[in-house]
């Protein structure tokens, strides 16, 4: 069975690194401008938009390659776990999406939630299952 394209093993750590790198930038910006910044400067490709775009891209790309990098030993059980976790992540994402569509009109944050939830939930669930398998082997 030939799996779909995955990033090499070391990309996982690069992904985590990118996610952690983006945090201090966002915190610094929030300290400087408050949570929503200066809305007077509207339009596309202004300072605020560029900053938002670059930090969000950094985080999204980091999460993406952390989620879709190979394991040390890539076998069919890992492929199965990955697919299961992906299905769970889509379910959870749509649950959040539906709840937020019903109870909120803040579309910018709904979009942001939609960007984060599937990948974060996928990574957490996938890692948790692998951790469980590793723990069982030690018993």
């Amino acid at each position: 069975m030939k799996p779909l394209f995955l990033f090499p093993y070391w990309c996982r750590y690069l992904g985590y690194f990118l996610v952690f790198v983006h945090i201090p930038f966002v915190l610094y910006k929030q300290q400087l401008m408050g949570l929503h910044g200066d809305d007077a400067d509207m339009g596309i490709f202004n300072g605020r938009h560029l900053f938002f775009m670059s930090t969000t891209l950094l985080m999204a790309i980091g999460l993406f390659i952390a989620a879709f990098s190979k394991e040390k030993i890539e076998d069919e059980q890992i492929v199965q776990l990955r697919l299961d976790s992906l299905q769970w992540a889509v379910y959870v994402n749509y649950l959040f999406l539906i709840i937020s569509l019903v109870f909120s009109t803040d579309t910018e944050h709904i979009l942001f939630l939609n960007l984060l939830v599937p990948l974060v939930f996928f990574i957490v669930r996938f890692r948790w299952k692998i951790f469980q398998n590793n723990r069982l082997i030690k018993e």
Binding site: M1, E76, Q77, N133, L136
Partner: protein, 66 residues
């Protein structure tokens, strides 16, 4: 689906790690198969059977629920 990999391993005197290495999977995968938490693909079942030199049916048997 039930299996007697643990018994076959004991007969052949090999560890989970040895079997895993022989068929190119992780030790965790062998462990989950042995404890019936994961059903291997036909390819993997055939590979396991080849290591023990027995037909697949002698190692994997259908359960009542299957």
């Amino acid at each position: 689906m039930k299996n007697n990999i643990r018994v076959e391993r004991a007969i052949k005197n090999i560890t989970q790690a040895d079997l895993a290495e022989a068929i190119g999977v992780s030790r965790q995968t062998i462990n989950t198969i042995e404890s019936n938490r994961y059903v291997p693909s036909t390819v993997l079942a055939l590979k396991i059977a080849r290591v023990f030199g027995k037909p697949v049916e002698e190692i994997f048997t259908l359960d009542d629920e299957d």
